[in-house]
């Protein structure tokens, strides 16, 4: 009986240890999914197993341990590698069309529907 309890306790400890470890790396996953792996075409840092991506993941973990929040980590990487590293493009004169076009199409489509309905 005692042995059973001991075994259970050990498993419990291992489990909780893994869980507390996983909490942080989940955060790394979350951030690295939003980062473009710059040396591999069409992959995120999360997906890639390249040296660059592996180091990047360690760095993100390090930054999290230092108490940096998501925004600070993204800003840090943007200042190092330029805006291209994040998948989320900022609004500037090159990307304004990208952001505005869906809105224009939405309004246009709405107008079409409105016309159709009011004609009926």
């Amino acid at each position: 009986m005692k042995i059973k309890i001991l075994v259970l306790a050990i498993f419990y400890l291992i489990g909780s240890f893994n869980l507390s470890n996983a909490a942080n790396s989940e955060k790394v996953d979350q951030i690295s999914k939003n980062l473009r792996c710059l040396i591999c075409q069409g992959q995120s840092v999360y997906d890639s197993q390249s040296d660059f991506a592996l180091s990047m993941k360690i760095l993100i973990q390090k930054k999290i341990d230092e108490g940096k929040n998501d925004e600070q980590i993204y800003d840090f990487l943007k200042s190092k590698y330029g805006e291209w590293i994040v998948y989320d493009p900022e609004i500037n004169k090159n990307t304004v069309l990208l952001w505005v076009l869906p809105l224009i199409l939405f309004v246009f489509g709405g107008l079409l529907i409105f016309r159709k309905v009011s004609i009926k």
Binding site: R36, L38, S55, K80, Y81, G82, E83, W84, L101
Partner: protein, 177 residues
Amino acid sequence: MVKNIKLITVVFLVIVSFFILLKGLNKTNNYSPKLNSSKIDFNFKAKFLYSDEESTLYELINDKDYSIINIWASWCLPCREEHPFLLNLKSLDKLNIIGINYKDKEINAKKFIKELGNPYSKIVVDPSGVNSIELGAYGVPETILINNNSKTILKKYIGPLDNKKLDELKIIIKNEN
């Protein structure tokens, strides 16, 4: 009326996509290595290759007016090719060459230096690659020219050095003051 709107929509979409594609043709969509800031406003600690002591980045780029940080590894073939160019740069008085040994085995790194000569005044190791990432590196080899006084990155080369880059580096160092 409805027919008209359909026609206008199609024409509008065609024109818009035409201009988007035209713009896309003229623009290279590779990553832009342009940096938001070239200031070295960070620091890291790294262990020396030839001793167990550690040094910070600021301490490393303390000597002389300029530093070249060269990221290399013994397993990297282009590093072997660029090595003579680094040895060539060693003769410049104002310049201090620092090696960052990237994701390498120490024994192989030492063998590499023994075989090809040592252009570096200091070599630190970066087994996890994190320090190189802090410097904004993509991989090996990579060469970064730093003004030690203003702590700014003057020039960055991704890939091995060659004759052209060597001349360029020398001109930058000559003209900076």
